[in-house]
């Protein structure tokens, strides 16, 4: 905390770097511009005092034992108030108010970070040991795991059996198919909106419905995809139970994810196309280049970095979806590579199933361990996708230097 709060405070004394040496003051000629300022070490004194006061307060309030989190929170509150009062006494009200707001903004930032850090910490702490001691989780599916093996693991210390490679493959296949469906549609829709529509009623309607689609609950998208595929199959193939069985497959899940993905792709691509300066389009037109070639060779290359990172973020967003995949692709204990036939397990669905319906209801611990390890892998995948988005954005960005 103290390192986080140090930064804003440095701003108080930019012109007096040697003030950390209190003795230096008397020998140096005084700078009238820095007169009346509190010394640079004030915050340390206030912070130390706040921690002490916080400790005292928490000891008074807390009835049982010492709460570390409570101590830090109380100290932070005391620090903010203490800094305000100190600054007000030494300097003036204006600077005190300025410092108060800066400390409050920093506090808000730290509060916003707490859930993220805590989430990452929990998942890593729960999942990493399991994953490291059982690398087989990444290469095996659940076909050889049953209640007996899990009971043996929990009661007799047998090695953890099973894994989630089928979930990884399912997530991969479903996401790839969803991307193949949504990126062309999303890209072309946004090209239409930005380059061709000229703001007519049709374009406004599309924009409106894209906005509405952004807010669709994912379970509704799953139900929609299920119903749509079912309608398609019963209309064109027949209504016998064989065909009705076909509805649950990877492709249905990919369609559900596309419903969620297309609006995100349209919105981000649209933004990227709109920031391409009109001057570049005009420069291309003025060279006698046709509109579609201008779009393909000037507008898209100029904005490709933003589009690619937008698409990657859209992929990252749907990778973690659970409900629509559960409805449309079901779940499976074995590996299925074919998204066009048979049920498929995605990683989030695997986590959900392992937690809600443990493989051995009497011995749920092994299932929980697998679920945490799978959650860790899922988070790593999403983080990697975000990283890829940044790298892609940098790699494709128009070259600016060379002067």
């Amino acid at each position: 905390m103290s390192t986080a709060l140090k930064k804003p405070d440095e701003g108080h004394t930019p012109s007096a770097p040697p003030s950390s040496k209190p003795n230096g003051r008397s020998t140096k000629p005084k700078n009238s511009l820095t007169a009346g300022q509190k010394p640079g070490w004030t915050w340390m004194v206030v912070a130390a005092a706040s921690l002490a006061v916080g400790a005292g307060l928490i000891a008074l309030i807390a009835s049982e034992g010492f709460s570390f989190a409570g101590w830090l929170i109380l100290s932070a509150i005391v620090y903010v108030i203490g800094m305000y009062v100190t600054t007000r006494v030494i300097e003036n009200k204006r600077r005190a108010t300025d410092g108060l707001w800066r400390n409050l903004v920093w506090a808000a930032f730290i509060v916003a970070l707490i859930p993220l850090v805590s989430l990452l910490w929990t998942v890593f702490a729960q999942g990493l040991p399991t994953l490291l001691s059982n690398p087989g989780l990444l290469t095996e599916d659940m076909s050889t795991t049953n209640g007996a093996t899990d009971a043996a693991t929990q009661d007799e210390g047998a090695p953890l059996s099973g894994g989630f490679v089928h979930g990884l493959i399912g997530t991969l296949m479903i996401t790839v198919v969803a991307t193949v469906i949504s990126v062309p549609i999303g890209l072309m829709a946004s090209i239409y909106l930005v380059e061709y529509s000229r703001g007519g009623w049709f374009a406004r309607t599309i924009t409106f419905f894209v906005d509405v689609m952004t807010g669709i609950p994912s379970i509704v998208a799953g139900l929609f995809a299920f119903a749509a595929v079912q309608l398609f199959i019963t209309t064109f193939l027949g209504e016998s139970p064989v065909y009705l069985q076909m509805v649950k497959m990877g492709l249905s899940a990919a369609i559900a994810l596309s419903v969620l993905m297309i609006p995100v792709v349209v919105r981000s691509t649209e933004e990227m196309l709109r920031v391409v300066p009109n001057e570049l389009r005009e420069a291309s037109y003025a060279l006698g280049v046709r509109k579609w070639k201008t779009i393909m060779k000037v507008v898209l290359p100029t904005s490709i970095s933003g589009i690619a990172s937008g698409v990657t973020l859209a992929i990252a967003r749907v990778t973690g979806e659970t409900a629509p995949i559960l409805v449309t692709a079901g779940f499976l204990a074995t590996t299925n590579w074919n998204p066009f036939s048979g049920w498929m397990t995605a990683l989030p669905v695997y986590i959900y199933r392992q937690l809600v319906n443990p493989t051995a209801p009497a011995a749920p611990v092994p299932s929980e361990m697998r679920a945490w390890a799978a959650a860790l892998v899922l988070i790593i995948i999403v983080m990697l996708l975000n990283l890829v988005a940044r790298i892609v954005a940098q790699a494709f960005a128009p070259k600016k230097t060379g002067r």
Binding site: E282, L287, G288, V298, T302, K400, T401
Partner: protein, 259 residues
Amino acid sequence: MAKRIDAVDLNVYYGSFLAVEDVNIRIEPRAVTAFIGPSGCGKTTFLRTINRMHEVLPGAYAEGKMLLDGENIYDPHVDPVSIRAEVGMVFQRPNPFPTMSIRENVLAGYKLNGTRMSKSDADAIVEKSLRGANLWNEVKDRLDKPGSGLSGGQQQRLCIARTVAVEPSVILMDEPCSALDPISTLAVEDLINELKKDYTVVIVTHNMQQAARVADKTAFFNIQGTGKPGILIEYADTKTIFQNPENEQTINYISGRFG
């Protein structure tokens, strides 16, 4: 190569708004013609009608005739894209393509249209165009560097090289020096003087000294009030416009007593 331009009873509209009214003008080949006038008087709009660039904006259209060596570019069967290959344009702000190198920027007119050419042909075009734009000596060692890394004046000359590379008949310039410093402006003005040997050059400028320096003929546009269309007030030799203008509005404008 250079072609004569005649506007006959030309009206330009943005939707229902008449922006420029009833322009009749003859622009001579192998000469520099300058358009001057206050902001919003329609000189840029009129310039853009010469290669139908104004049609890029929704709802913009023109009535009347614009003759390029006697051929009407507003004939219903004319493809605007072919006109723009014939009538090149340089814009107010330098706009090299940020994704392309200097060399690719010069060849943009060919590359974007998918024209195939041998490397030696391409090299010849790059050198000729960059020499034509007085830029060759400054960039010949870094042709593969991004065009956006050049200074503003160099970028503008790169844009001129890009326009010259496709060998148009007419070059339109929309305030080409308004974003440049005096030294870059001088370089571009020298270039304009050389370009007029081969091309019909039309330049819009806010800078009357610039018009006096570079133009053979000058046209003065004015607007009668807000919401009214711009009209061509006076068109004559540059010397006449600046030393002995006929119209009282022109006298007021060039002497700075406007409004």
